[in-house]
């Protein structure tokens, strides 16, 4: 049984220009203790997807899924209140910018305490102890001092640790980390990632790692979903995807990562895809990548379906299997 199983999750926004699809038929499975990555550019719908899973969408959004089970319980059949309860008890989420994700007017301790209390943490003394414990467990040294401080007095890395501590308060089975390191310094990034991986191991907590940076996924996740314009364009085991992308977009993403050391070639230009991610409210006809895709042909006027190919899934009329083979030759 999967910890979380989602089939065909769609999120639409009501706007002045009618419904706009932000996430289109997203499929996702995760097992306890598993680490799965989701990658995509900004605006690809990955954050909306995360918010939809955590039931945090704004009232103007409509989320629907054919199947949505958490620990075998069907969330679609629950009242909104029950669903919220189940989700907050089992899923935690941390966000990109820890400093603005913490309430600036309240102390770290207060925010931790109320989280602990809302998950049945007992009286205030017990809550406090638990909070301090949590702070220690995410590697914050002088927890007692930090407990009394405000978010603005802490560095970004520390704040992200606090966020993680807060996320751990409900002993989640799944932690969704939405770009957890993007706004942090590089050295801090790896510390946070290490922490997340360690927690994943220690607590057998599944981790959904959302990022736009392949370098983060390469070391951590088992499987990666690549998203573009609200759709998953490719899903595969991480190393397979990194070494042998099938989808032109995945390849473009990989090629845009600079290489260092032995991979570095003087004069090699970083690859970049022409154009920008299309706005959600006027997507191109057919394949969303169509206008930007160097391999596009007439057939791409039709929307490609996600199909299985060599044990992974790809959404392209012309997957890059041949080309990859040729290159490898």
């Amino acid at each position: 049984m999967h910890l979380l199983h989602i089939e065909n999750l769609s999120v639409n926004f009501k706007t002045d220009h009618g419904l706009v699809t932000a996430v289109d038929k997203f499929k996702f499975k995760i097992d306890p203790g598993q680490v799965i990555g989701v990658i995509g550019e900004s605006g690809s719908g990955k954050s909306v997807m995360a918010l939809a899973i955590a039931d945090l969408l704004s009232p103007s959004a409509i989320a629907q899924a054919d199947l949505f089970t958490l620990e075998g319980q069907d969330l679609n059949r629950m009242s909104p209140f029950e669903r919220k309860r189940l989700i907050t008890d089992n899923i935690s989420i941390i966000f990109q910018d820890p400093t603005s994700s913490l309430n600036p007017a309240l102390t770290i301790g207060y925010q931790l305490d109320e989280t602990v209390r809302s998950h049945g943490g007992g009286n205030s003394r017990q809550c406090r102890d638990r909070s301090l414990e949590l702070l220690a467990s995410v590697g914050i040294q002088d927890a007692k001092r930090r407990y009394k401080e405000y978010p603005h007095q802490l560095s970004g890395g520390l704040n992200q640790r606090v966020m993680i501590a807060m996320a751990l308060a409900c002993k989640p089975k799944l932690l969704i980390a939405d770009e957890p390191t993007t706004s942090l310094d590089v050295t801090v990034q790896s510390q946070i990632l290490d922490l997340l991986m360690q927690l994943n191991q220690d607590l057998n907590m599944a981790l959904m790692l959302i990022t736009h940076d392949f370098s983060i996924l390469s070391e951590t996740s088992e499987k990666v979903h690549v998203m573009y314009s609200g759709q998953v364009v490719e899903s595969a085991k991480t190393y397979k995807l990194l070494t042998e992308p099938y989808h032109p977009y995945t390849k473009a993403l990989l090629d845009s990562v600079p290489h260092f050391g032995m991979h570095y070639k003087k004069g090699r230009r970083l690859y970049n895809l022409p154009g920008t991610t299309p706005p959600m409210r006027h997507l191109p006809v057919g394949c969303n990548l169509g206008p930007r895709c160097p391999y596009a042909s007439r057939q791409c006027v039709e929307m490609p379906q996600l199909k299985s190919l060599h044990g992974r899934q790809v959404r392209c009329h012309f997957p890059l299997i041949e080309e990859a083979k040729q290159e490898s030759k």
């Binding site: 309240l106 102390t107 301790g109 207060y110 305490d113």
Partner: protein, 565 residues
Amino acid sequence: MSFVSEFRTSITKAIILASIIFIVGCEQSVAPAHKKNSQLLIYCAEGSPITLNPQTSTSGTTIDAASATIYNQLIDYQPGTTELRPSLATEWTIDETGTKYRFKLRQGVEFHSNQYFSPNREFNADDVIFSINRQKQPSHPLHALYGANYPYFKGQGLGTLIRNIKKIDDYQVEIELTRPESPFLSILATPFLPIQSKEYSDFLMQKEQLELFDKNPIGTGPFQYVAYETDSYLRFKRFDQHFAYISPIKNLVYAITPDPAMRFARFSAGECDMMRYPLPVHIKLANQDDSIKSIQTSALNVAYWAFNTEKEPFNNVKVRQALSLAINRKAIIRSVYDNQAIQAEGPLGPSSWAYDNELTSTQYNPEKAKQLLLEAGYSSGFELDIWAMPVQRAYNPNARKMAEMIQQDLLEIGIQSNIVSYQWGTFLRRVRLGHHQTVLLGWNADNGDPNNFLTPLLSCLASQNRSNYARWCDRNFDQLILQARQETSPEKRKDYYIQAQKLFAEAKPWLPIAHTPNNMLIQNEIKGVTLSPLGTLSFEGVHFAQESTDIKKLPDSQKNKQEQL
């Protein structure tokens, strides 16, 4: 952090509490029951008295507040009339020279007491001498208290008129005047000469708290002072030892409400029982409403249009006559006074005993006015200024409007006019200095004597930058009123005054416009209210419908019949 966690609950609680308070607060108050039990009478007053001592102010607010309640004079007016009656003096005699007045004082009169002082002796001659000398002698210890001046005492020239005052025995005093002055008794009966307690003054002087003397006043009147909150209320309680009567009113409150609209709103909502100075529309409303009524008495006042007789062309009697004929006073009385006043023909109204019944009315006649102007040599008309007083008074509720109406009337006889107005203080100062051409003003009597009109308004002395705004000086007229003043026989005085009024009517230094009655609105359950022609307030005889009237301690017949008056 407990602050925050309790924050929410406290806010919710506060909101609930606030709404409960709001609802409960809006419930019908329980006061009326209380009111009946405490025999409370509420009088809606028009302002905050500046002082509670009528000696030191001529303001009607002070007089209303103090003289109807705290103090008594030697002599008094019979309620609702200008007739004199004994008060603290039981009888008096005047010697043949007309300069020596001997008063026999009432025995057994008690003074009030308060938290500072309770009297050890009853009222006697010392108190009378003390009270008059306070105003007369600059050396008197209380004379300069709070930098007070004594506007009425000085204005009437009493400082020089009274030569001295001496004690014959404990219950007899003699006042000696420098010259015979027949209105003297009327002056003594005005509220400006209240009798205060010498013992209280001595007591305070000893305790060096003299400043309390007028602030926590002690008198012999029917009500004693309890509390005064400026702009809010003035509270009295009944003085059970009062010599003349015990009122059924146990508690008396002056609810201070300066704005007439708000005063009437309070009155009609039942928040007060009596209301002074209603607007004409309020009287109209009161007549429609069964639960309230308006009472009225003719008053000793006059509104007039004075011509500055020192200036061209108003020094010409024909011009003055022409102007007088040109004004439609009926229309003025209808619009400005809402028909609540009577047309005036002379300075004295019909409620004065010296009123000349045969005085011919000046009829509205623009044609004749034009004729007269022609005769005077102003056939092409001229321009004039009308100075309109900027404030509202009982005798003239809207001088500006009156001026506008006069303006219209003057146009008909070919005279252009401008309306001039200044801030009240400036206005009076300039008018006194004679800067005006014509002016709309009025006069309210403070004692019942005709002299109170004729001397200040029309005598030669008053034309010298004083209250004779016509600046009219006629030696014959002066001679007549002087004779009347020195004469003690009422019949002869009346003769002199009638002659004087005739002189006035011929010379027309002003056009008398209206005599306005005094008005008061009262709730229906209040009975026995009398209004004085002098405009002073009295609670004597006032009672609630369901209660009995005053308990009289003095027989009504105790009127002093004296030979000379």
